[in-house]
Amino acid sequence: MSSRSPAQGPAAPDPVHRLSRRRLLRHTMAAAGGLLAAGPLSGCVSPASASGASSLSVWDLFQGGDGMLMDEMIEAVSKGAGGAEGFEVDRTILDWGPSYYTKLAMSAAGGRASDVAAMHLSRLAGYAPGGLVDPFDLDLLAEFGVTAEDFAPAVWSRTRHEGTVYAIPLDVHPFIVFYDKEAAEKAGLLTTSGELVPMGSPEALLEAGKALAGATGEAGILFGHVTDTAQNWRLFAGLYAQTGAEFALPDGGPPKIDVDAAVRVVTLMTRLFDGKTNPNNLDYNGALAAFTSGRGGMAMLGEWELPTLKKSGLDLGAAPFPQVFEEPAVYTDSHSFVLPHQDDPDPARRREAHRYVAEILKQSLTWASAGHIPAYQPVLAEPGYAALDPQSSYADAAEVAVLDPPNWFAGAGSNFQNRMCQPLQSALLGNTTPEKAVRQMVREADTLLRQPDPVA
């Protein structure tokens, strides 16, 4: 055993350690003993007991820029940031999307889930009602300095199921617009203080597209959606919410969708991405590449693309998604923490899990550097946050956040978003009319709602 234990200090190679040889050995013995001696049925090897009480297992789906920032935050709390006691954290990263959520549900159903897991708030309706996540103890959180008042109400309201809090938001990550300041300036779209001018109407947005196209000599507004399983829905859902109409998915169906409002939205989308002023046939990476290489004045993207865009050397501006209909609304989601269901939770570990979540929230400034708006609002008040450019210019988006309609099958990376995207893509590509696309969306939602609800 020549390897240093991670607890021995900063010299250890990887503080967010995964598996040490010590643990490997323990597994061997547990496996051999448990399996062979105790026979098939009682031969369960509990990883919880095998990996030692002190190490907290956390799951998330953050890779790339987010993944590295999360590593940084975990490292900070592991060492005991802000004078708090440290942690031994065992981090597991799984692939973003359905595979992550499937594994999360299966581990909870199996009863030996991790201590803490990340979850898009929009997915909570698939986990809390079915008992796949356990509730947070707000008193305990308060003890560690985190209370309900620390979060934007628009987001906090989605953390509850039947009055109990099941998720603690880490961030709010809206679908916003990035723009090339130079092009926007030339197109006359900047205020005297250098912010994007308010739009206020669909026509203003269309005009802005034309002005930007004129300024760049190429495309005005860029949006990648072809074969993407979320982009069209993000754009649609944000604009639809701005009309003030309701989009609800009551169990058993039919869905409550204002068809006229939806047609207005899809019509605007098709007029905007007409294939002339603004291209209508880009895929996600294509749009990203076009924007970073200066072939467009504005891009509609999630704020999480900020690190990539910053590297491009553009004079980058950002703003909450412009209000073009009657009400302000921005489509968002929120990375949150949940306590996956454990059959037999150890109270001391649960306490540590609460403390861990609270400590990570206090590191949100690090998280904000990737573009995310910290959900824990005390961080927004820190001078460090105001200095973040362009993050601070869209922080208001949290106040008017709109998430997916709550239902067990909806949310980030869900089949629902995928199915909403298909007809929208057809409409943008000109293969169908806005009316038909909307009817198709209603039908798809209805089909999903008619399925027996597995969580109720």
């Binding site: 598996l19 496996a31 090897v45 297992s57 590295m68 799984l94 299966m106």
Partner: protein, 299 residues
């Protein structure tokens, strides 16, 4: 139909038999050059992915992403391997794979040889019916049972345990069938003599029948081991804890904070490929025999 026995035996002949075969060549007109060329082309196509993977794995991520991969441009580095080994995941999964495959093989071989012997020599009531059920079960693809099996493991509180990975894999009706047919063909004179001398049935099995059956048992063991080593679906479904995952499951499921990195991806793929390739190089003959004898269900 009884090629099980003959194939195994024919393999004991001197190893070069294939090379001397007269088929196609002899004084045939099919030119050696043509055959040779076809073989070389096929072999190149089959080895190319490996070569490409090896080349990728010894370059830096930067070289791959910036200049585009040219096998001859980037500088040689073992960085990717070093990082993979430092992280330690692959080592743990390899260990799990070995442990799980070894236990699956051990239990399967033990349970199946015993059962095959019982079916071959036993006279208990219901033997034929049970044998019939066993043979019929060969048709049941284990993949179709994952949903109820997961449900069962939840019920037993066994999800995320080694036992849950291993036990459902030890049911191998096909292997029982292959072994039983082999035992059926083993002459009984020796056994009867031993029985007359008062040897217990287990003793007869262990010291007479089993030694005679070593080749087929080895063939079955190898076949089961390879199957368990490469099994994906069930271990994937029943393990969520990365510490318990096997190589294929861990590599497919657990990601890295940095996102996709091709050099490291290829390095871990090659590291994971290594154990069985080495084993193959060492025991080529036995493995080839095993596939040939068990692959068609001993027919």
């Amino acid at each position: 139909m009884s090629a099980t026995v003959t194939t195994v035996r024919s393999r004991r002949r001197p190893p070069r038999e294939a090379a001397g075969s007269p088929l196609l060549l002899g004084h045939g007109r099919l030119p050696r050059v043509l055959t040779g060329t076809a073989l070389v082309v096929l072999a190149v196509v089959w080895l190319l992915p490996f070569v490409w993977a090896v080349i990728t794995s010894v370059q830096s991520e930067e070289d791959i992403n910036t200049t585009g991969l040219s096998p001859f441009k980037g500088a040689f580095t073992l960085d990717a391997y070093q990082r993979i080994l430092e992280r330690g995941n692959v080592t743990v999964w390899a260990f799990n794979s070995f442990l799980i495959s070894a236990l699956v093989t051990l239990i399967t071989v033990a349970v199946s040889t015993l059962a095959a012997y019982g079916f071959s020599r036993g006279t208990f009531r219901g033997r034929r019916a049970l044998l019939g059920v066993t043979v019929a079960a060969i048709m049941v693809p284990p993949q179709l049972l994952v949903v109820p099996l997961f449900d069962q493991m939840t019920l037993f509180h066994m999800v995320d345990t080694y036992a849950a990975v291993i036990l459902p894999q030890v049911v191998a009706p096909m292997m029982v069938f292959i072994l039983k047919r082999f035992f059926d063909a083993v002459p009984r004179e020796l056994e009867e003599a031993a029985r007359i001398d008062g040897a217990s049935e287990f003793r007869v099995f262990r010291s007479i029948v089993l030694p005679l059956s070593r080749p087929i048992v080895a063939a079955v063991a190898i076949f089961v081991f390879i199957g368990a080593w490469n099994n994906f679906m069930w271990p994937f479904i029943v393990t969520n804890d990365p510490d318990l995952m096997t190589l294929p499951v861990g590599l497919a499921t657990v990601k890295d904070a940095y996102g996709v990195q091709y050099a490291q991806s290829m390095a871990s793929a090659l590291l994971a490929a290594l154990p069985l390739i080495v084993v193959f190089l060492l025991f080529q003959r036995r493995i080839v025999d095993s596939v040939a004898t068990t692959g068609l269900g001993g027919s």
